[in-house]
Structures are given as structure tokens and as C-alpha cells.
């Protein structure tokens, strides 16, 4: 029991972070808050992957003659790609929000939906 907790508490904290982002994405009405939640979620997932790469006593994955054990370089590489893709996602999401604000004058999801139903102010 104690061993399980000591070995896995890191993962649980990462999952808690993911869930904070997830809650922001589903429960907040403000669209920018949703983007911020998405950003937190993505970063927490990256943290989870990077933690899988860590080995006890390992050194950074750069060749060094004193090292006998390296951390796993593969998740690092994948997460480098992931960070850049997440920024692209954020940029497109923000551009869409700017368009929504231009069309409806609001970035609150519920108000935009009401305006959409009235069918008035859309482009």
C-alpha cells in the first residue's frame, strides 16, 4: 500500500492537474477560460509523458562518458512536437474567439448561444 503510494503519487498529482484543466474546459462559460483550461490540460499530459521517461539515477539524454544510465529520450522528442502543436491549436482557437467576438460582441458561450438562437446578429 505505502509502496504503491510512494511509487505513483506523481502520476496522481499530474492527473489532478489534468482534471483542473478539464473542469475549466467543460464548466466555464468564458471562451478564453476554456482555452486556458485546454492549455493546462495539454501541459499536464506532457508532464505525464516526460515523467515516464525519467529513470532513477539516470542523467539527461546527452552523451556523457561518466554516465552509465540515460533517461529515455523518446518521450522528450514526442513532447517537443506536442508543445509546438499545442501552441498552433491555441492560436487557431484564439483567432476563432476573435471572430466570434466580432460577430456577436461577446465571448461568453451561453450568451453567444442565445444570440445564435435569436438569429439576429450573426454575419
Amino acid at each position: 500500500m505505502i509502496e504503491t503510494i510512494l511509487g505513483k503519487y506523481n502520476y496522481w498529482i499530474y492527473i489532478a492537474l489534468m482534471m483542473i484543466g478539464f473542469y475549466a474546459m467543460v464548466a466555464k462559460e468564458n471562451l478564453i477560460k476554456k482555452v486556458i483550461g485546454m492549455s493546462i490540460f495539454q501541459t499536464a499530459v506532457f508532464l505525464f509523458y516526460v515523467s515516464i521517461a525519467k529513470v532513477k539515477g539516470g542523467t539527461a539524454p546527452i552523451e556523457w562518458h561518466h554516465s552509465h544510465l540515460y533517461d529515455n529520450p523518446l518521450p522528450h522528442t514526442l513532447m517537443l512536437t506536442g508543445i509546438v502543436v499545442s501552441v498552433s491549436t491555441t492560436a487557431v482557437a484564439l483567432a476563432l474567439i476573435i471572430r466570434i467576438y466580432k460577430a456577436y460582441g461577446s465571448i461568453e458561450e451561453d450568451r453567444v448561444l442565445v444570440l445564435e438562437k435569436e438569429g439576429g446578429k450573426g454575419e
Partner: protein, 186 residues
């Protein structure tokens, strides 16, 4: 066995993320998100993921913050706060919705924690993810790619097509941004 420094950083992360989600002022929220990204970069430094750490510090903490502030400057800064009367009227529905979503989040948390039970412990040298192809990259990359940094070798050579895909994603995002933000003539 328990790394105190890491726990402190993780605690700061949790505090920053809750603050970023709960703040009413979107600009402060964005700044706190930048701090969150920077602490995240420090944790990655601690986990020996140096390349990921400096990418996060520049791209995650820098560019994302700038992008959100740019979007805020073209929209509104404050989150919409309903007046007392409206808040009183919608109180019950709001509580019901937030409660239901909180329970959904909690259930997801439980399922994911249950999923970690099958995983190898943190830092386990015998974990399957640590072996197979990763071993080969570490052993052979110096003689095959002539680069000391394994991450660079994998990124640019072994998994070059992944990087090409990443570049095409950025290109697509750039095109989408141009189409979304161009000034219409009307």
C-alpha cells in the same frame, strides 16, 4: 525516496492552475498561466528533460501568453459577471450544472487513477517504455547520426517524418489564422 523539492513545485503548479481557472480578470489569469508554464519548465529541468524545458519556457510561457494577451486586446478583458438579480434567478440551475460537471470530473479522476495502478512505478528502470526502441537510439545514435544529444538525433533523423508532420501542422495553423483574421472588404 520522496523528493521534497519536486513536491513543492507540484504544489505551486496546482495553486497556479486553480488560480488561473478561478480568476475573474482574464489578464491576471493569463499572467498566472505564464507563471504556471514557467514552473512546469523548472519541473522538466528537474526531470532531466532539458530540451522540453527550454521549449516550454520560450514557446509555452512566452508565445502562448503573448497570443492570449493579443486576443484579449481585441476582445474583452473581464469575464462576464452577472448582476445580483440575475445571479439569484439562475442560482439553482448554475449550482446543478457545476455540481454535475464536478462529479463527472471526479469520476474521470477516479478512472484515471485506477488506470495508473497497472503502470510501472515512477522512475522504474525496468519499465517497458524505457526499453525496446529507446535502447537502440541511445546505443546507436552516435555512430549513425553523429550527434551527442539523443533528443536531437531522434527529432531530426530517426523521427524526421514526425517533425515534418509538425511543420505541416504549423503551416496549416498559419493558413487558418490568415483566413480567419484577414480584414473583410465589406
Amino acid at each position: 525516496m520522496v523528493d521534497i523539492i519536486e513536491i513543492i513545485y507540484l504544489f505551486i503548479l496546482i495553486v497556479c492552475s486553480v488560480a488561473a481557472v478561478r480568476m475573474k480578470d482574464l489578464l491576471s489569469s493569463t499572467v498566472v498561466l505564464g507563471a504556471y508554464s514557467l514552473v512546469m519548465a523548472i519541473i522538466w529541468m528537474d526531470l532531466n528533460a532539458v530540451d522540453v524545458a527550454f521549449t516550454e519556457a520560450s514557446v509555452g510561457a512566452g508565445i502562448t501568453t503573448v497570443l492570449i494577451i493579443a486576443a484579449l486586446s481585441r476582445t474583452t478583458r473581464g469575464e462576464y459577471v452577472p448582476g445580483i438579480e440575475e445571479r439569484y434567478k439562475t442560482r439553482k440551475a448554475r449550482r446543478l450544472k457545476n455540481g454535475a460537471l464536478f462529479i463527472v470530473t471526479l469520476c474521470t479522476f477516479g478512472v484515471l487513477v485506477y488506470g495508473t495502478m497497472d503502470m510501472p512505478n515512477f522512475g522504474d528502470p525496468d519499465a517497458p517504455a524505457r526499453h525496446h526502441v529507446a535502447d537502440r537510439y541511445i546505443e546507436k545514435s552516435h555512430e549513425e547520426v553523429y550527434v551527442e544529444n539523443f533528443v536531437t538525433a531522434i527529432l531530426a533523423s530517426y523521427r524526421g517524418y514526425d517533425t515534418l508532420g509538425e511543420t505541416s501542422v504549423i503551416f496549416t495553423a498559419g493558413v487558418a489564422l490568415m483566413m480567419l483574421l484577414r480584414r473583410s472588404k465589406s
